[in-house]
């Protein structure tokens, strides 16, 4: 059974971007910010989970090839795809919190059926790093689709909205 902390604060103007090599995604951070959103960067699963445990973000853009950091999984690992692509831990965490799959985009350098299969299981969006136009289209969709009322995690209603 999954154990997650529910966020207390909704940060509706910030996207959580998770990547262990931020020097290679500066373009993405710049693109998101040019669209009027702020970005918060996490470099491993542990950092991402710690931030997600406190805050619900407007959206999540998550690299699948990231290190664990200091986090120990609080749920059973569903398949070995999590071992290979540890970003799925973050996706499963934020999805289990109640974040809508529409607000979560995964990306990776590799593209295979294992990845697309797990992305479908988690009902999140997926794109590959090299296809920038498709990637940007996903980001545009994430930013341009307003956060539906039902997509706001209830635990944040008592907390502060930033």
């Amino acid at each position: 059974m999954a154990t997650v902390n529910l966020p207390k604060t909704l940060i509706s103007t910030t996207i959580l971007v998770v990547d262990d090599e931020p020097e290679h995604i500066q373009w993405l951070l710049d693109y998101v910010e040019a669209k009027g959103m702020k970005t918060q960067l996490a470099c491993n699963v542990g950092e991402a989970v710690a931030l997600a445990a406190k805050n619900q973000y407007r959206g999540y853009i998550i690299d699948l090839n990231i290190p664990m950091g200091s986090w120990i999984p609080t749920f059973k690992i569903p398949s070995d795809v999590y071992e290979k692509y540890k970003g799925f831990f973050v996706i499963k965490y934020v999805r289990t919190q109640g974040n809508s799959g529409q607000n979560v985009t995964a990306y990776s350098a590799h593209y295979n059926e294992q990845i697309t299969g797990e992305a479908k299981t988690l009902y999140c969006e997926y794109t590959t790093k090299g296809r920038v136009k498709e990637f940007k289209a996903e980001v545009d969709k994430l930013i341009n689709t307003p956060l539906a009322a039902h997509a706001v995690i209830k635990s944040t209603s008592t907390g502060k909205t930033k």
Binding site: D20, E21, E23, H24, I25, Q26, W27, L28, D30, Y31, A34, N44, N65, I66, P67, M68, G69, E83, K86, A109, H110, K129, G130, V132, K133, F135, K136
Partner: protein
């Protein structure tokens, strides 16, 4: 055997090809994707003219990183698995000398931009000592490029990495590089030079790496410079030291 033990195992020759393929794709696709994204931002107007110039410079550094990796592979192919025909030319190719401070300074310049971003300064202490080494400069340069590349990946921010050359009592030329890093267990101090090896600490910082850079450093040091390379890490001070030793017949002042 724990997961970490499995990761830290030295891979066998049969695994090397597969390891290369998987890691090579990741190591090259990431920076190139970054460049594509940057260029797309320039084209679609995300950046103004001033910013565009800055990011194009940054893209150049990313492409240089790709080239550095590809060059490593080329060196492997060219020097360590070369055909007998190429071997006949090897002696002539190696009848050149490198000026140590020049090679180190050029390697430092290669990382200047990336280093500034992380607040890492690479400083050659005794640049005026013109040690000449009997080896091709690009080979020697590759050793320092790989070592500096590691520091940028695994080094602490806001520090100065010091490079010092000196001669010991055996008349060996010693080049030492010291600075702060995430480090490694000293039981891995030999393993980090093995093909495909990545320490537990490296895995914790960056998910994927080629595990080829330090292997190349050792190959060049041992087979071209006829010397040795070693590494130590002090957890107390978080200081990592790489030490290259070149025998007296291979250098002159």
């Amino acid at each position: 055997m724990s997961e970490d033990d499995t990761k830290n195992m030295q891979v066998g020759p049969k695994d090397i090809g597969l390891l290369f393929l998987a890691n090579f794709v990741h190591q090259v696709v990431n920076p190139i994707s970054g460049v594509i994204g940057t260029l797309d931002n320039v084209v679609d107007g995300t950046y103004d003219a001033v910013k565009a110039k800055q990011v194009i410079n940054a893209s150049r550094a990313q492409l240089e990183q790709c080239i550095s990796l590809i060059r490593n592979l080329a060196y492997l192919s060219d020097f360590f698995f070369e055909t007998s025909e190429k071997g006949e030319l090897r002696k002539a190719r190696e009848a050149v000398t490198s000026v140590l401070p020049q090679v180190i300074i050029e390697s430092i310049q290669f990382f200047q931009g990336a280093g500034e971003k992380k607040g890492i300064k690479l400083e050659l202490v005794n640049a005026s000592d013109q040690y000449r080494i009997a080896a091709r400069p690009e080979l020697l340069k590759q050793v320092f490029i790989n070592l500096f590349d590691n520091w940028l990946k695994y080094g602490e921010r806001n520090q100065t990495v010091v490079i010092l050359s000196k001669v010991n009592s055996k008349k060996e030329l010693i080049v030492e590089l010291s600075g702060k890093s995430i480090g490694f267990s000293n039981s891995d101090s030999e393993n980090i030079f093995n093909m495909g090896f990545r320490s537990k600490e490296a895995h914790g910082k960056v998910a994927q790496g080629s595990g080829i850079g330090l292997f190349i450093c050792r190959k060049i040091t041992e087979e071209i410079l006829e010397g040795t390379i070693s590494a130590t890490h002090s957890p107390k001070t978080a200081t990592t030291t790489f030490r290259i030793s070149i025998p007296k017949n291979l250098w002159q002042l």
